[in-house]
């Protein structure tokens, strides 16, 4: 009985506050549902479906390529799981450094890394190709970055694997070591235990990770735009971009295509939801935290070397090449006399557009970060603690943007702004970018906030109410200070996401609200790769600096070992 009443939240109190709460919930429902409804209703008209899917081979091929490229999810999940397991369970020389490097890679923007890989794997001037062609028996460049393989490679190395390491780390850490120890005592060797016990227990977590990776891979944009377009490879997101940015835009086909993708994504998202819920059960089974790292013989040096190679390929090499590229007279041409110059740095830094974009990016990132943290905290609080009607529905809806590709979100919001005179003031404004970033990051933000708020003992809030503070004061003086570390974490995640983002905001930014990431994209697609690399270096530097700063504050998205 006591447990029942302890879990019962405080009633909202005054009517005004209840009304405000309901308004907030309704707004969340509106901003999460509107993009989906726009797209689905837009696709309901007349002949659109026939036109989009039967008449257009380009649309069909885009779907085909999207699904083909999504194959990186299972590959990355397996590699990522292996790396995470090795890092967590085996005592490795340099293990902490490798973990740290994976963590940094997690945050690095994709576009600059793509530029580096162009430098290395371009069929004409790519360094790796040139090096291999100097060998007597190789006559044609063996690698072509502008291909399905090239796109897969950049994704897997630069984002999919590090993301999997970060996602799967906690699941592995929570696995009670006694499961494995019992296996050893029963007479199995370490490899047999790994195969027969560890892998089956963690299989749901790996599968969940794969599904998450699958969904995320379907919304990738900038790599495909940069590497696929020259080779005539279009995926769903780049195709949508074309359809909606033609003059006049073909919104109808874009929406039909989007509706189809949404259907696929929602099906995967549902499967993911069901799986991750069962996954929680597996987590509860293990009490966690009680594991000792395995000691292995000289093999550990071999493992460390292999992992360091991964770090070199996914982080060090791309960063080095990016910096090189930014100083080159002609991107990729190392063989010309005096290949290096400071001209591009001068050119970019002196350009007022750069300063303007930098300011916009910072305003967008900081604005979305602060506003987002506040909005997510309020929404999560209402979901967890209030008794307002509809909070359960909003809890589900807040999850929706997670499976909506950025490009689709951007397109539908653009359409809404164009179609409704009431919203026209948002057209091309920085405010619209802030708004859409808040919506795009809502799933992760609200989810993390909910976890954090649930950990606060209800008595701490009730006590404040009895002491004479209303719900609002209680929220600001008790709840928010108690989840301060989480506020910092979410701010950093939103900040970095907004700074990196291209696909979500590309439709919405106007001349006055151009951001650094969009400028970088624009320079890269207009073949000014050197200037793009300069901006890439600057963006990466900001992202890494913020991530490191946050880490010293105890950022919670982490592969770091819990302090002992």
């Amino acid at each position: 009985m006591a447990a029942v009443s302890a879990a019962t939240p405080v009633s909202m109190g005054p009517r005004v506050q209840a009304a405000l709460g309901i308004t907030t919930l309704a707004l969340v429902a509106l901003v999460t549902l509107a993009p989906v409804l726009v797209v689905v209703f837009g696709a309901l008209e007349g002949d659109v479906w026939r036109e989009t899917f039967i008449a257009s081979a380009a649309n069909r091929s885009a779907i085909g390529y999207s699904l083909l490229l999504a194959l990186r999810a299972p590959i990355a999940a397996l590699i990522g799981f292996l790396i995470a397991w090795l890092l967590i369970r085996i005592e490795l020389p340099g293990g902490r450094f490798i973990e740290f490097a994976m963590w940094v890679t997690f945050f690095i923007p994709l576009l600059p890394v793509t530029l580096s890989w162009i430098l290395l794997l371009n069929p004409h001037y790519g360094l790796v190709n040139k090096a291999l062609m100097s060998l007597p028996f190789i006559h044609a460049p063996p690698f072509d970055i502008y291909s399905v393989g090239g796109i897969l490679w950049v994704h897997i190395v630069a984002s999919s694997v590090p993301v999997m390491v970060v996602i799967l780390g906690p699941a592995i850490r929570q696995l009670d070591a006694s499961f494995e120890e019992v296996g050893r005592i029963c007479g199995s060797g370490p490899l047999a235990v790994f195969r027969q016990i560890t892998l089956p227990i963690l299989a749901p977590a790996i599968l969940t990770g794969t599904l998450a990776g699958f969904i995320k891979s379907l919304e990738a944009f900038e790599v495909e735009q940069l590497l696929g377009r020259p080779a005539g490879i279009f995926v769903y997101s780049t195709r949508i971009y074309d359809l909606a940015s033609w003059e006049p835009p073909n919104f109808k086909s874009a929406m039909a295509l989007s509706t189809f993708m949404l259907l696929v994504l929602l099906l995967i998202a549902l499967a993911y939801q069901r799986l991750s819920r069962r996954n929680d059960y597996a987590t509860i089974l293990g009490r966690g935290a009680s594991f000792r790292q395995l000691r292995v013989g000289p093999t550990r040096w071999l493992i460390s070397a292999a992992l360091l190679l991964v770090v070199a390929i996914s982080l060090i090499c791309p960063l080095f090449m990016l910096v090189c590229g930014s100083f080159m007279k002609l991107f990729g041409f190392f063989s010309i006399p005096e290949p290096y110059t400071l001209d591009h740095w001068h050119e970019v830094l002196a350009d007022p557009t750069f300063l303007h974009s930098l300011t916009n990016s910072l305003v967008l990132s900081v604005g979305a970060g602060i506003a987002g943290v506040l909005v997510y905290a309020i929404v999560a609080y209402l979901i967890v603690r209030s008794r307002l009607p509809g909070r359960g529905v909003v809890d589900l809806l807040a999850w929706l943007p997670w499976s909506i590709p950025g490009i689709l979100l951007g397109m539908s919001v653009l359409w809404l702004i164009l179609a409704s005179p009431l919203l026209s003031f948002l057209y091309g404004s920085l405010a619209s970018l802030v708004l859409i970033m808040i919506v795009a990051q809502m799933p992760i933000g609200v989810h993390m906030m909910k976890t954090s708020i649930r950990q606060i003992a209800v008595e701490l809030e009730q006590s404040s109410r009895v002491c004479g503070a209303g719900p609002t004061r209680t929220f600001f003086s008790i709840v928010l200070p108690l989840i301060r570390p989480m506020l910092v974490s979410i701010f950093v995640i939103v900040f970095i996401s907004a700074l990196r983002d291209i696909s979500t905001i590309i439709f919405l930014a106007g001349a006055g609200s151009q951001t650094l990431s969009l400028l970088m994209m624009q320079l890269a697609t207009s073949s000014n790769l050197e200037a793009s690399a300069v901006i890439g270096v600057i963006t990466t530097a900001i992202v890494v600096a913020v991530a490191l700063l946050a880490r010293s504050f105890g950022l919670q998205v982490t592969v770091q070992r819990p302090s002992r």
């Binding site: 009985m1 009443s5 405080v10 109190g13 701490l460 009895v466 002491c467 004479g468 108690l482």
Partner: protein, 372 residues
Amino acid sequence: MPALTDASVARPPDEPVLRVRGLTKSFGGMRVVNDMSFELPVGEVLTLLGPSGCGKSTTLRLIAGLEQPDAGEVWVRGRLVASDKVMVPPEGRRVGLVFQSYAIWPHMTVAENIGYPLKARRIDRDTIAAKVAEMVRLVKLDGLAGRMPSELSGGQQQRVALARALAYEPDLLLLDEPLSNLDAVLRKEMRAQLRTLQSRLKTTVLYVTHDQEEAMSLSSRVVVMNHGVIEQIGPPDQIYEQPATRFVEDFVGRTIRLRGVVEGDAPRPRVRIGSGAIEAAGSETLRPGAAVEVSMRPEDVTVQTTPDPDGNGLAGCIIDVTYYGDRLEYAIRIDGPDEQVVTVEGEKRRSVLPGSRIHLGIDAARTKLWPL
């Protein structure tokens, strides 16, 4: 009363601080509080006593405004604060509450914790500082005002929670098992401090506990609850000496129970227990042949090796002796076919071996009869 008088100003002096009427609350179809009614006059300490799950904490939460009743009313200082329609939020009730877990905010210092209710009422900073200093002295936390809660012991945290609840001089102080998280020694000490504090401040207190000793020693009156229903309300001595139900008798102290039958043919009505018979208070009101249970407190029973010739008592045999350090306990089988066993305290100095014959001296005036 004249029509123009404001009820809150011209409050009759006998107006109770708290009035609870027909209070009812269910969780998931389970009636946790069922038709509770009681009043709490100014300056009194009233204790809700009962086993865990009896609804006492829920009653407290209904009064504090943390739950809304399904039926019934809560009046504080003559103002209706809760019913199935009215729900004054907790911050509007002018009550203080100390949780079992203390609920000290970990991100605020001791002084900030204590000053919070004053700050919430927009009192100026100097007044808050003065009041906090006064409260710190009152609960003997001198020198700790700048500490964080994590740097305090359990007893100190408990006093912070108390100071915080008292800081804004609430009409009513609610205490939810405030001592249950302390060790036995500290609990006794805090109990004494609480008593002194209350008699000094004359605060009206509603106290919730499952510990009968706490209830007895702290309260002016005790409400014994079970299954969401009030079993008895009364001063501690009345609850102990004249329990209204067998549940109350068992809950507030140790009890010896013996089954028997009322004998009618004797000059004075007696109760036959096993092969003996005793006099018991109130037996004349029952019909001969009625099955009854006789109950008494262990301290009203004496263990005798030779029977008092004209005394009231039963004979039996010691089957077990348990040593508790400060006392002995005998398990005694009463003579008779039904072989009833009772546990009685004995003196350490006159220890008797198991297997010995023994007599129980029973004070007839201090027994109670329960018809079966």
